[in-house]
């Protein structure tokens, strides 16, 4: 005789008919809570996937630059607007930051002229940072003391701005290729010295908004013409796995560091959306718990109504564990159905979201993420265990 047929015969002794509405409400509540939870998890994952496509990465890293926010209070106090060696050390120690390179600025006066080709002369600033942080480093980007020629990496934005305004100034527009062949002269002044170097643009950088020279040159020139080697830096370049990581952004905000441009705007959006969906997921969990509570009242009612019959079965030698298992088993299919329905609804929502709101963007899938299915499975296991434990406790009390 199998266990199943054994229970079939005593099934009539457990009165589940009562409290139909509280049962329906608790299952509806469970369904809604699970749906909220699963769809929040799915949207959370969608956001991660959509916004992971930030700026182009070099070898899987994001590079962003930070400066200090200059406020009315710090205006005029240079040391407060610079990163000290101590601060750089602290930033480097942050777990989400892989590496930091200060942008070293020139500490002396210099002038740039383009010789005969473009009749143009201007005061100039130079900056340098570790080669690792530059997106385009040609082999010619080298300098040794004694070398008269300086290779330069220029921000491609600068060329773009120049080309926009050049016609109005009667200057020729130049392409990136020809810009490289324009010879320029850089004259450095300071410490009673004056020296002119030749130079040319060896590459353009999309990442760094500056005029970059080899680090060896600027360190030498700062000592020679400026007489100092700055320990502080106005700007830091940061190498990180994910520039949009909300925790990293919080760290910058907390310290009043300003992150350059819109590299992190995705992160800001993600931060907000993740907050919204975390709130929804939390709400979903609360609804699930509430539904479980409502269901436990219904179970108490079932057990109370069947109390005499259950007590009699226990007296006759039925095991409380076995009885609790049989009673609990009656509700397992309902739990599974309710949670699976919520999963199917999440899948339909995801499909519709991908198809109609995201126009089949390749980063997303029309199917729910495996984590959502895993969450549904965990919820099924969780509710079955809670259900069994509740019933077991109630039956044991009758013993």
């Amino acid at each position: 005789m199998t266990v199943a047929t054994q229970f079939k015969n005593i099934k009539t002794l457990i009165q589940t008919g009562s409290g139909r509405y509280s049962r329906l409400f608790s299952f509806a509540g469970l369904g809604i809570g699970v749906l909220l939870l699963l769809s929040s998890v799915q949207m959370f994952i969608n956001i991660q996937k959509l916004l992971r496509q930030g700026p182009a990465k070099k070898s899987g890293y994001d590079f962003i630059s930070i400066t200090k926010t200059i406020t009315n209070e710090t205006m005029g106090q240079v040391e407060k607007n610079l990163f000290s060696a101590e601060e750089i050390k602290l930033i480097r120690a942050h777990p989400l930051i892989e590496d930091v390179s200060p942008l070293i600025a020139s500490q002396f006066r210099m002038q740039l002229s383009a010789g005969e080709v473009i009749p143009f002369r201007t005061d100039l600033f130079l900056e340098t940072l570790d080669d690792d942080f530059i997106d385009t480093v040609p082999p010619s980007f080298r300098w040794q003391p004694g070398q008269n020629h300086i290779p330069i990496i220029l921000s491609s934005d600068f060329l773009e701005i120049y080309n926009i305004f050049a016609p109005a100034q009667g200057l020729p527009q130049i392409s990136q290729e020809s810009a490289g062949s324009v010879g320029i002269f850089i004259t450095c002044y300071g410490n009673g010295l004056e020296e002119t170097f030749t130079g040319n643009v060896v590459a353009f950088s999309d990442r760094i908004n500056s005029v970059i020279v080899p680090k060896t040159f600027l360190l030498w020139a700062n000592t020679t013409f400026g007489g100092v080697q700055p320990e502080t830096a106005p700007r830091l370049f940061i190498k990180t796995k994910d520039a949009n990581n909300p925790e990293l952004l919080r760290f910058f905000d907390k310290n009043n560091y300003r992150v350059n441009k819109d590299r992190t705007k995705f992160g800001r959006v993600r931060q907000t959306l993740q907050g919204v969906f975390s709130g929804l997921a939390f709400f979903g969990i609360m609804v699930v718990l509430l539904a479980m509570m409502l269901f436990s009242f219904y179970l108490q009612l079932v057990i109370a109504r069947s109390k005499e019959n259950l007590q009699m079965l226990l007296i006759l030698g039925y095991s409380p564990r076995w009885l609790a298992q049989r009673v609990a088993k009656r509700f397992v299919p309902v739990y599974i159905i309710v949670i699976l329905l919520a999963l199917v609804s999440t899948a339909i929502m995801q499909w519709a979201f991908h198809r109609f709101a995201m126009y089949n963007r390749p980063e997303l899938s029309s199917w729910p993420h495996w984590i959502v299915a895993a969450a549904a499975a965990i919820l099924i296991i969780f509710s079955v265990i809670i259900n069994y434990r509740l019933i077991h406790r109630m039956v044991n009390k009758l013993f």
Partner: protein, 212 residues
């Protein structure tokens, strides 16, 4: 098998021990023992039966089953003890009133299929309630319910059968028929019987007799 040491209901006075042949004494009930306990109403017969069956535990002293103190049995231990080792005919029958007589008996067989369901019909026939098997229990007479309760106790394996005033609603003839069936079934299992009643009954061949 069953070793009873110095037990006394918590709600009884210690002085009861001096007057009683049972309370506060030590007993062993072994295989094939037929123990008769005679006592008037209110002297603790049902309490004793409930203590041994594990329904209540408000007593001092110890009850050992196969050297294990049943006071330390878990709910699961008791379930197994009742399913395989100890059977009982309650004074108040304890049948499920909404079910038919047959269903009440089948519940025992479902728990432990010691016999096939044919045995139900056979025993019911011997005790004269075959025609009541299909009736809802609550509309049966006490006598019929008592016989059903006796049959239910005999449908399972046991080492000890407890009878708590099992014939209180039966006439002499039916009581004797039931006793014959009880003895026959108990002999098959080499089981002991603990028979608690208001008075001595001649057709119970007791090996030990006590007054509570």
């Amino acid at each position: 098998m069953l070793n009873i040491k110095n037990i006394l209901p918590a709600y009884f006075d210690e002085s009861v021990k001096d007057r009683s042949e049972w309370w506060g004494k030590d007993f062993v009930i072994g295989k094939g023992d037929y123990v008769k306990i005679v006592a008037p109403s209110g002297s603790g017969k049902s309490s004793l039966v409930h203590f041994i069956y594990g329904l209540r535990n408000e007593y001092s002293g110890h009850i050992f089953y196969n050297e294990k103190d049943i006071r330390h049995f878990s709910a699961e231990d008791f379930a197994f003890y009742r399913r395989r080792h100890i059977s009982i005919v309650f004074q108040d029958m304890k049948l499920l009133p909404e079910l038919t007589v047959k269903k009440n008996l089948e519940i025992k067989l479902q728990l432990e299929p010691y016999y096939s369901s044919d045995k139900i019909t056979e025993m019911a026939e011997r005790l004269g309630i075959k025609n009541k098997l299909g009736s809802v229990t609550k509309i049966c007479s006490y006598g019929e319910q008592q016989r059903a309760s006796i049959i239910r106790a005999l449908l399972q394996p046991y080492d000890l059968l407890i009878l708590d005033e099992p014939f209180s609603h039966l006439d002499e003839k039916n009581a004797q028929l039931a006793m014959d069936l009880i003895l026959e079934e108990s002999r098959k299992r080499e089981a002991a019987i603990l028979f608690a009643d208001l008075e001595r009954i001649d057709y119970f061949p007791c090996t030990k007799l006590y007054h509570l």
